[in-house]
């Protein structure tokens, strides 16, 4: 979402960062109170961090807790700083870098899923082909007229990317994606 640029922190980073840039998924447990999302995303924009994907919803109603899942990009040094800065926000309870944690647990990545709604309009062969491809991707038809379909698809972001790319020539009209929801494998919580 934010334009990608060199990590900030100080005007005195004259030298280019030598560490490689990585994509990490952070799970942020916050009090469900007004403004908490603004605090989190304000931190990202204010300090020049990137947000690739963001999802948020209340997850524990009794305890008034919401979980924000953020996919961000940066060098390991910047990712460490993002975590520390998030932890400074008063209503933030816990921050777990799921990507780091996954490696510690012996996995490659956390389990990451996304849902997308995809509207395709067309007739004739393209229409038939889009339906056939949707079946192959296990996408469901949730709305249709003689002129269009809305498909619902769930899966890894890469799968959704691929499905959208394939739908383009079939008469893709618009796409809505939820952003990534993620958990780590195994019996333990975050």
């Amino acid at each position: 979402m934010n334009a990608q640029h060199q990590p900030t922190g100080s005007a005195y980073f004259i030298d280019k960062e030598t560490q490689a840039v990585e994509n990490h998924t952070l799970s942020v447990l916050v009090s469900n109170e007004p403004g908490v999302l603004a605090r989190v995303i304000g931190l990202f924009s204010g300090r020049g961090y990137n947000i690739e994907s963001l999802t948020v919803s209340e997850t524990e109603h009794e305890a008034h807790l919401s979980r924000i899942t953020i996919v961000t990009r940066g060098t390991p040094h910047v990712l460490e700083q993002i975590k520390a800065q998030l932890e400074r926000i008063v209503p933030v309870h816990r921050v777990v870098d799921l990507t780091v944690r996954a490696v510690e647990l012996g996995a490659d990545r956390p389990v990451e899923r996304e849902l997308a709604l995809i509207k395709v309009a067309g007739s004739g062969d393209a229409r038939v082909e889009s339906l056939r491809l949707a079946e192959a991707f296990r996408a469901k038809v949730i709305d249709a007229t003689v002129g269009h379909f809305i498909f619902e698809i769930t899966g890894k972001p890469s799968k959704i990317d691929q499905f959208i790319a394939i739908m383009k020539p079939m008469g893709l009209i618009e796409v809505c994606r939820t952003g990534i929801a993620a958990l780590n494998r195994g019996p333990q919580g975050m």
Binding site: G9, S10, A11, P34, H77, A84, P91
Partner: protein, 596 residues
Amino acid sequence: MTGKDTQNDGKMTGAEIVLRALKDNGVEHIFGYPGGAVLPIYDEIFQQDDIQHILVRHEQGAGHAAEGYARSTGKPGVMLVTSGPGATNAVTPLQDALMDSIPLVCLSGQVSTTLIGSDAFQECDTVGITRPCTKHNWLVKDVNDLAATIHEAFRIATTGRPGPVVVDIPKDVQFATGTYTPPAATQPKGNYKPKMQGDLDRIRAAVELMASARRPIIYSGGGVVNSGPEASQLLRELVELTGFPITSTLMGLGSYPASGKNWLGMLGMHGTYEANMAMHDCDVMVCIGARFDDRITGRLNAFSPNSKKIHIDIDPSSINKTVRVDVPILGDVGRVLEDMVRLWRATANKADKSHLKDWWENIARWRARNSLAYRPNDDVIMPQYAIQRLYEKTKHLDTYITTEVGQHQMWAAQFYGFEKPNRWMTSGGLGTMGYGLPAALGAQIAHPESLVIDIAGDASVQMTMQEMSAAVQYNAPIKIFILNNQYMGMVRQWQQLLHGNRLSNSYTEAMPDFVLMAQAFGAHGIRCEKPGDLDDAIQEMIDVKKPVLFDCRVANLANCFPMIPSGKAHNEMLLPDEATDEAVANAIDAKGRQLV
């Protein structure tokens, strides 16, 4: 307000709750400015005597006064402003307090809850605007949450890494009736729990590293002052025990006395040669409550290249932010120093400091370079000389010093010796011109019998000059010692360094007559133009029991040295005797030009 609560089963109006909560949090003074959305609170202020309200002339003044109050006492400063412009005027001091970690509680009025979002008169999104410039903020929509929120605000402002907070209170909540809960009966909400005690294994590792050092240095900062007077005491003890040299950031001056034998002076962009060279060449650096700010480190990849670094800080995000450290210790400076001193006593070879002999000889050579030297002048007052005389005339008194921002600030840091913490108040992180005068007012309100001096520049002081009127109103005899060179001196210095001596808008052509201005305010004005008259004029300033504007006419074109030019390392300082016009013009290369 007293008595009403017992009659009404602890029920009070929101405005009463505000006053009661302030009192229960130990507040004696608040700085503020009334307006439509805070009138119910002002009405309560009128009807009580426990808390004194200091009426400023601009909300920015209220904020800086509260900061000066906080920094000179160690207690939180409190400001009260109205909605809309009152709140937006508070933004500068809030950000100032955030960057310098000052406990500041700002209560703001807001339009009634029913009007929020309707673009009502004097409405602004206060919590939205102040979100990035506070440690935390709240909009209180229910009068029954008001007391708990204010208590929580004080707790968050004063604990952990201190900082500013805002409690935004809509007018209908101030009128509504609700239940008051005292601080003791209020459950802390959420998960906020700063880590105070340092990890003992880390501290042990630090002590071992320090014991093995041959070229050690202690670099302390504002965190030591914030941690309380005991932390400064422990720092002094640690320096005494280890025999290490010590330098400090601008924010930390006074934690270790300037007269102490291990003192190297301030470090950083305008720090001493010996402090910066020792930082560059050291083998073990002990950073205590400082944050490796860009004014301190200079060029990062050349910052102290061969040292192992120990960093004590209460804020996890300060650790490894810009400089990688070897032994990070998360915790309150005072608590960690306590453990460190104890462990040093128990384990280290305490008596033998002979292995530091070579290091101290090196330092003596750097010191002999006399990096703060300037050319004295019999006809014109040199700004450095003015500070030196001010120091000589006031050092035996109970003195608090504030400053504005610019050359005068750096000269004050270089030439005024601070012996105790909480005596030096300056805007370090944000660099707010106009900070010093209202901060002096705040410090004077907290210490009515003390001598409070704002070492000012002619440009900065005009930014918040209106608060002289508040000082006169409250008989706060603050002394505004203006080093008047008719320039924004530091701006000009950078134009000379970076922009071919093209002095764009840094000269003040229509300087007000500060003596007449003082008279207009009902204060006392002094002008001094000759070095020979300076001592008597300073004495007059001290003796007058009134606010004073002291117009000290100094050499117009003096510049502030030594200096680490932008993009340079600690060992590439520009020293005063080498700072020819040509050296100044070529000091910063193309890469350094883009830096601030």
